[in-house]
């Protein structure tokens, strides 16, 4: 019944994310449809959509993450721990399982939204996209988003809700700043790995950020498990 | 029975309960031979610990004031026999003690002595039964 609980806990979050995505996505549609900014070249619009999409992937991954131990508010950031955490921890269930179920559901929700957004982006492309290109793009956006998600889960294990979200943003902003200075960071950065600006559809599959993201996510997942098991409540 | 316990008192609760039950019998609220409420009933009525009620019942039984019949509950011992029984038990102890001491002095172990006692008791009961059949 942990999946049931995780769903009840996160469903409004999920709905909120869907709403936010729709809001962002409806804007270019509306803009193009009404031709209000008809002077804007298609290329620039496309770039804006790209950046927006990367931002949405990141935001989704950060917002939908949770540790499964502390009870999360629906759409509010609750400071400290919620009293029901004691109830959760007094149940005959391992902390690892609590983490996996909540983390798993959040990951599933994130992936679903990422896939929908990625498909929509491809739909906006003026050129046709082959099946292989579609799958390659979906795969790398999912994997790179999961790297971001894994960090958020780890932060959720140790920090209050508001700090885990803030902390995650700060981290990826730092990565964004660093990657323009250090080439090796740019080569493995998931932020670039999920962007069509850096790696266009027609380019070969960017293995470096994909592998780096998988390793990063794996390591952070192990760290999260160790973290929840060692924590004192 | 109208039982009232002062939980804040320095007097142990089980003792208070015992006193209250004895008092109930003395005033005739419950008579010899009548059944006492179950431990659970009293615990429920007074909102108190059932183990404490059980202890009160055990002590009363030990004093011979009540009888606990297996399966059917606790009953107030017949007024006359309760004191008589307690006295009888004391007397029997006095009578048996020298016999036990002599048995031990003869070099018998505790279990051997116990077996002798049981054998004699059984033989007496058989003789009594045989006597009843003859009559």
């Amino acid at each position: 019944m942990l999946w049931y609980k995780a769903w009840l806990e996160t469903r409004w979050r999920f709905v909120f994310m869907v709403g936010m995505i729709l809001f962002v996505w409806l804007t270019p549609e509306w803009i193009t449809a009404t031709g209000v900014h008809s002077g804007v070249p298609a290329a620039r619009l496309w770039m804006a959509i790209q950046l927006g999409s990367v931002f949405l992937f990141i935001f989704t991954a950060i917002f939908l993450a949770g540790s499964g131990i502390n009870t999360q508010g629906a759409y509010t950031f609750t400071p400290g721990f919620h009293g029901s955490m004691l109830f959760t921890l007094s149940l005959p269930v391992s902390r690892r399982r609590l983490l996996f179920v909540r983390g798993g559901l959040g990951a599933l929700q994130t992936c679903i939204l990422v896939v929908i957004m990625a498909c929509y982006i491809l739909h906006l492309r003026p050129e046709a996209t082959s099946v292989l290109q579609t799958l390659a793009y979906l795969a790398r956006t999912i994997v790179c988003t999961m790297a971001i998600y894994a960090l958020s889960v780890l932060l959720a294990c140790v920090l209050d809700e508001i700090w885990h979200v803030t902390g995650a943003f700060i981290f990826w902003i730092a990565v964004f700043l660093v990657q323009s200075k250090f080439d090796w960071v740019a080569r493995i950065s998931p932020l670039r790995g999920m962007s069509l600006n850096c790696y266009p559809i027609t380019a070969p599959i960017p293995w470096a950020p994909i592998v780096a993201s998988l390793v990063f996510a794996g390591v952070l997942l192990c760290a999260s498990v160790l973290m929840v098991q060692r924590q004192e409540y | 029975m109208n039982l009232r316990i002062n939980f804040a008192s320095g007097v142990p609760i089980y003792q208070q309960l015992m006193e209250q039950i004895k008092h109930a019998v003395e005033t005739g609220a419950i008579r010899g031979g009548e059944q006492l409420p179950t431990i659970r009933k009293i615990a429920e009525e007074l909102t108190m610990n059932p183990n404490t009620v059980a202890r009160a019942y055990r002590e009363l039984e030990h004093e011979g004031f009540i009888e606990v019949r297996h399966g059917s509950g606790a009953y107030v011992a017949e007024r006359g026999t309760s004191t008589a029984k307690a006295a009888g038990i004391r007397k029997a102890g006095e009578v048996l003690r020298p016999a036990i001491e002599r048995g031990l002095a003869l070099g018998l172990s505790e279990s051997e002595l116990r077996r002798v006692f049981e054998d004699e008791l059984a033989r007496l009961q058989d003789e009594a039964a045989a006597e009843r059949r003859r009559n």
Binding site: L8 | I13, N49
Partner: protein
């Protein structure tokens, strides 16, 4: 069939170098209702959390149901057989009464549907109502229901009646009495309310500054302890403090108040030999026992 349901030995726990529990020793036998008393910060909640596996102990051992609790797996095994009611009775704010019950049920193979129905009926809990809309009394009832319907052999509670009105408090005590009577459930709860501990507990455990100072059957404690009040002509003699059996002594000028334990008659004899003008022996209440052991000299 193990007799001792909770056994803690040499249990120690520190937070940031400050000791919360010092070599605590505790034994709670099966079927008893044990009240866990202590001042704020004495270590009550820490002890409960250690029993539940929310904290890791620094030293000592814990046995629940006779099994040592030294890993998450053993803690989970114990948690299948016990129920916990926290102090603020918080449950999930995104669930209704019904959903909370449906969520909790599958964790316990021994879940008793009949008890669930019985208590839902008895408490008249509104099934479709969201948990945050419930009063504290109803939340307490719901938590009790969740703890009892799982067929728990042990009930651990942190201040179960805090925030409840007297009528509801009595209801809770009734349920505890009933549980102990019908299923032989062991109940261990921390409390500030001496009155309710006196009423419902057959055992009492007093903790002070991380150590257990009193642990025993309440009725026996009342039999074993006596207060001896002495008045002297001059200043109360210093020898009083050294007499055997004096658990606690308070001297003020010509009067002395002794908390005596054990051979009370012998102690009274010795006290008399010191020539008091008045000797009075009185029974001791739980409140006196508690205050004398936790207020320090």
């Amino acid at each position: 069939m193990n007799d001792i349901i909770i056994a803690a030995d040499g249990l120690s726990k520190s937070y940031d170098g400050k000791p919360a529990l010092r070599s605590l020793h505790l034994e709670v036998p099966r079927g008893s209702i044990c009240g866990f008393l202590g001042r704020n910060g004495a270590g009550k909640t820490t002890t409960l959390k250690l029993l539940l596996g929310l904290l890791r102990r620094d030293a000592g051992s814990i046995r629940l149901f006779g099994e040592p609790i030294d890993s998450e797996a053993s803690s989970i095994g114990a948690r299948r057989r016990l129920g916990f009611v926290s102090e603020d009775k918080e449950l999930y704010p995104f669930m209704t009464v019904d959903q909370t019950i449906r969520f909790t049920r599958p964790f316990f193979p021994g879940w008793r549907r009949d008890l669930e129905e019985k208590y839902l009926d008895l408490f008249q809990l509104p099934r479709k109502k969201a948990v945050p809309k419930l009063s504290k009394g109803m939340r307490t009832q719901l938590m009790l229901l969740l703890a009892m319907a799982r067929g728990a052999e042990l009930l651990l509670m942190d201040e179960p009646t805090s925030g409840l009105d007297p009528a509801m408090t009595e209801d809770v005590l009734q349920i505890l009495a009933d549980l102990a009577a019908s299923d032989g459930t062991t109940i261990f709860f921390s409390s500030h309310q001496l009155a309710e501990v006196e009423q419902i507990c057959d055992r009492v455990c007093i903790i002070d500054q991380g150590q257990v100072v009193i642990d025993g059957v309440l009725d026996d404690l009342k039999s074993e302890y006596r207060r001896i009040l002495l008045v002297f002509d001059g200043m109360a003699p210093r020898e009083l403090a050294g007499l055997p059996g004096v658990d606690h002594l308070r001297q003020r000028g010509r009067t002395a108040s002794l908390l005596a334990h054990g051979d009370v008659d012998g102690l009274v004899e010795r006290a008399r030999s010191l020539g008091p003008t008045s000797v009075e022996v009185r029974p001791v209440t739980l409140k006196e026992l508690f205050l004398d052991h936790v207020r320090g000299e």
